[in-house]
Amino acid sequence: MFDGVQIKTYECLPDFDKKEILRYAGYKGEADEALAKLLDECLQECKGCFSYRVAYIVRPIEFFWETFGESKTAHAHLDGCKEVVIFAATVGLDIDRLVSKYAYVSTAKALFFQAIGAERIEALCEEFCKGFGGKRFSAGYGDFPLEKQTEFFRLLDCSRKIGLTLNDSLLMSPTKSVTAAVGVCKNVDRRGSELDCSACLYKHCEFKK
């Protein structure tokens, strides 16, 4: 089934960004020695536990509007693009297992593993979106409703292609996963150096840049 869906896997990604990991763990500033040691231990332990997989389709831009309907956020990201890439990415289940394991033994490590997973899935999306020109956006960004998540799963056959599943509350398993759309706009580079938080409606975010 769904033979139109492509799969891309990555043997490895750019190296861990420790600063980002610390940020996801709620830390600000330079890590002291104890913290840096713990982080290194965690990085050592989860090396090789990632399995980077992306399922995607490339479609004319009209397909996006027919499938997902109107949204200001989507327009802001896609206007001017002729094609759209719709994708789902995951780093696999092992990092969830590590988080669960350490929840019982060391919450600090669990926190770090969860931060490492967040950094990895972002790195995977960045790597995958390289070269499309557009900036990716997901269900739940701005006015693009979270409920559209089911549409991504309907299109991409995520469970069979990359082992990614959606529950009734629209949460994904493995948790370190992203579904998103990105415009292909060869001429205009819309990507900033950092993710843009300005479109987000959530005011209380600790991680706002």
């Binding site: 289940l93 770090f112 469970s159 949460l171």
Partner: protein
């Protein structure tokens, strides 16, 4: 028509190829459910099936890959399966092919991930597959074909459903990725162990990749399986050209590659995504005249987890620590449902080199039938070692074996008729390797000969159930030499005799020294002697350095350790003077401690082993209460204050919490030893609400509350409102903490609060989670809002103070 099982014995069997591409060519739009086409486009479906029968397929799979109750209502599901079977039958009848033709009920994965990482309960998965199986049987399929499974646990659910609802042959095929593993981590060998144990007729691989990338998986299946092996690859890897997808291998290359699998021993072959009748026709031509490979019984004893198989070819260490016998602290943990404590025992044994973990939670006051399966589920969520299920209650045993994700080690059966009648049917149904104790109605025989005779009786009785002797490991029982000076000699002799009979053996080694001083000395020597007599598995305490020394030295001495690599690694890690010099001292920390005593400093700096040692030292001179109030709490407060003033951040807060936790563990052991009762502040029930599977925030709150002396009952994640209410009423807890991460799960939190207000109006509720705000917390009727874990502590401190006043 001939029987599928018979046909399989004498022939190379051709399966069909892909249907997805063909359906899309016929106009099936992306995202539409293809199973409906059985009814709406019966002619198209029949033509596809007929194409495969004409090409020479012996078995065609019904178009029911996703035909289950998650996707279709009951009535429509029945219609679809009925039409699907009819379509395949019509195609067989109208095909020009002269070969034997069979129709398989196709069952694909549910698309849901099973608990604990997904939200689909194991028994719900069994029920889901059972419904489709029953329909297939009703409409007359010849066999069940479970395919494209990417999770071992779901595969077990599907096979169990098939076995419980029909006597038809069941073929089980999984989708292994380019790394040769299932999406959730299982190796082909692990899958063979589990599926063969449960009675799959055929085991195989399909989808995901092409024949080139499938080589290692096919080899591993052929090497381990004692049943016919099935191979159904894609037509290579997909490539896009101009928006269209095609595969990179044509029918000729495909047929040549797959014919090679047949030569190696594969007995059932076909194609998956991208293959067409032309591929199958070519495959039939290319394999013409090949002799079907002989299927040999592989007599290797192994158990498996959801990732890997453990073989008994070389000595295996079974960790014995998850067992309350003689351990007050462990009994207390079981009584308090302190899952964390039990899991930590498991994790530490894995770190110390155990290959398998024994799990025994039998203790007075414990409902073993509920708790044993619960602990098995908890353990297999975070530890990838095979488990040895240890109970004398057959009901608890069955429940645990049923939900175990792999092929378990079963502890145990013995020569008593009652025991064999109870255990062997379970081993037959769920698969497993069973430990056979050489005792019977008359007790434990004194002589080695008699123990071996009991072992032979057990093996003979097992054979009646079809359980092979490779799945029985004999424990000739180590008895203490302090009671009988010849006890060890008899056991060693029995080991020698059992080995000569081709049986594997295991021993609970440490029994031998019962009643003697310096037991480890005797244990280690006995262990070495037993290994020399061919002992296959030892149940030991992996924390015992002496036992591990013996084990690693034995492997090195017997040429079982290439370049002594394992021994050297062990020696340099364990025995301090051989370790490379490394500074473990941590010099700078960002939070400076005032008036730091060693314990306080260690907690503030988050050094848990230092904190444990410092606490141990203090316990010699101070009372538990003095240490808690004079050292631990002030240290926690100091870090908490730094956190609130943004001089310290969450990771440091948690590292300190761990430091405090390890100090508390010392205090706890001290109090248990001295018989002092522990006092805790009030109870709080914690849960992540139904539908939500994120629990790191809740776990952080739990850790901090425990540190501040609260009695935390953590119900986990994805917990229904009913369950939360039930536990609040059962425990009489004055407070509940609820966590929800997503906007989609906040309604579930509101629903929980509503039910709590109705059934337990006095309970105080505090909520937290990423998307929650204070205003929203009020709106849904919570009493408190925790922006972070420390606020939750403050809330509880205030509540406790109020409770004490009244």
């Amino acid at each position: 028509m001939r029987n599928v099982r018979e046909f399989l014995q004498q022939n190379i069997v051709y399966l069909d190829g892909g249907t997805g591409t063909l359906l899309q060519e016929a106009g099936l739009p992306l995202g539409e459910l293809p199973e409906r086409w059985n009814i709406t486009h019966a002619d198209v479906i029949q033509a596809i099936h007929r194409g495969y029968f004409n090409a020479g397929s012996n078995i065609v799979c019904t178009n029911t890959f996703g035909a289950n109750r998650l996707k279709f209502p009951q009535a429509e599901l029945a219609e679809i399966v009925k039409a699907a079977v009819e379509n395949a039958r019509m195609a067989a009848a109208s095909s020009c092919g002269a070969q034997e033709k069979f129709v398989a009920l196709d069952i694909g994965p549910s698309g849901k991930l099973l608990k604990p990482y997904g939200d689909f309960a194991f028994e719900d998965a069994v029920a889901l597959f059972a419904e489709t199986v029953k329909l297939g049987v009703q409409y007359g399929v010849d066999l069940i074909y479970i395919e494209t499974m990417s999770d071992s646990y779901e595969t077990k659910a599907a096979l169990l459903a098939a076995k419980e609802n029909c006597d038809l042959p069941v073929f089980v095929s999984c989708a292994y990725g380019a790394d040769g593993k299932l999406m959730t981590g299982a190796s082909p060998a692990a899958m063979v162990a589990m599926l063969e144990g449960m009675g799959a007729d055929v085991i195989g691989v399909n989808c995901s990749v092409g024949p080139k990338q499938m080589q290692s998986v096919v080899d591993e299946l052929l090497e381990n399986a004692s049943v016919p092996v099935l191979v159904k690859p894609n037509a290579g890897l997909p490539i896009t050209d101009g928006g269209n997808t095609r595969y990179d291998i044509d029918e000729k290359e495909f047929a040549l590659l797959v014919a090679e699998f047949v030569r190696k021993g594969a007995r059932l072959v076909g194609g998956c995504c991208g293959t067409t009748p032309a591929y199958i026709a070519e495959l039939v031509v290319r394999t013409k005249g090949l002799e079907p490979a002989c299927i040999t019984k592989k007599e290797r004893t192994c158990v498996s987890s959801y990732t890997h198989a453990v073989y008994f070819d070389e000595p295996v260490l079974i960790g014995e620590r998850i067992n309350p016998t003689g351990k007050k602290r462990f009994k207390q943990a079981l009584k308090e449902k302190d899952t964390a404590y039990v899991l930590a025992e498991g994790i530490s044994q894995q770190e110390k080199g155990a290959h398998i973990l024994d799990v025994n939670v039998g203790s007075p006051e414990i409902d073993e039938r509920a708790e044993l399966p619960r602990y098995i589920e908890e353990l297999q969520a975070v530890i990838n070692l095979p488990l040895q299920i240890d109970t004398s209650d057959p009901v608890a045993m069955e429940r645990a074996m049923r939900i175990y994700n792999g092929k378990p080690l079963v502890n145990s059966v013995n020569g008593k008729k009652e025991s064999m009648d109870g255990i062997f049917p379970l081993v037959k149904k769920y698969g497993g390797v069973v430990i056979a104790l050489t005792l019977d109605e008359k007790g434990i025989p004194d002589s080695a000969e008699e123990r071996v005779q009991i072992a032979e009786r057990i093996v003979a009785e097992g054979a009646k159930y079809g359980i092979s002797k490779k799945d029985i490991i004999v424990d000739p029982l180590a008895m203490t030499i302090s009671a009988d000076k010849n006890a060890a000699k008899v056991t060693l002799e029995a080991l020698r005799m059992l080995k000569a009979k081709g049986l594997h053996t295991s021993l609970g080694v440490s029994n031998v020294s019962f009643g003697l001083p310096s037991r480890e000395t005797v244990n280690a020597a006995f262990f070495a002697l037993a290994l020399q007599e061919g002992l296959s598995a030892a149940i030991i305490n992996p924390n015992s350095v002496e036992m591990r020394k013996t084990y690693h030295a034995y492997l090195a001495l017997q040429g079982l350790d290439e370049n002594c690599g394992g021994y050297i690694r062990f020696a340099t890690e364990i025995i301090p003077q051989y370790a490379p010099v490394e500074s473990t001292a941590v010099k700078s920390v960002s939070i400076e401690t005032k008036d730091g005593t060693p314990l306080k400093t260690a907690i503030v700096k988050g050094l848990s082993s230092v904190a444990a040692e410092a606490c141990q030292e203090l316990l010699k001179t101070q009372s538990a209460l003095e240490i808690i109030n004079g050292e631990i709490v002030p240290a926690l407060d100091e870090v908490g204050k730094a956190y609130e003033e943004k001089r310290a951040y969450l990771p440091q807060l948690l590292m300190s919490a761990e430091g405090a936790k390890s100090a508390f563990e010392k205090i706890r052991l001290h109090m248990i030893a001295s018989g002092e009762a522990q006092t805790k502040k009030c109870k709080i029930v914690l849960a992540t609400v139904k539908g939500d599977i994120h629990d790191i925030g809740k776990n952080i709150v739990g850790t901090l509350l425990e540190n501040y002396g609260f009695d935390v009952l953590d119900l986990g994640r994805d917990v229904s409102p009913e369950k939360i209410v039930e536990e609040v009423l059962r425990t009489g807890a004055p407070a509940v903490g609820l966590s929800a991460l997503m906007t989609t799960t906040v309604p579930s939190m509101a629903e929980t609060i509503k039910l709590l207000r109705e059934k337990a109006p006095n309970v105080k509720i505090i909520v937290g989670g990423a998307v929650l705000t204070e205003e929203y917390a009020k709106e849904i009727g919570a009493d408190g809002y925790g922006k972070d874990a420390l606020q939750a502590v403050r809330f509880m401190e205030k509540l406790y103070a109020d409770l004490c006043k009244n």
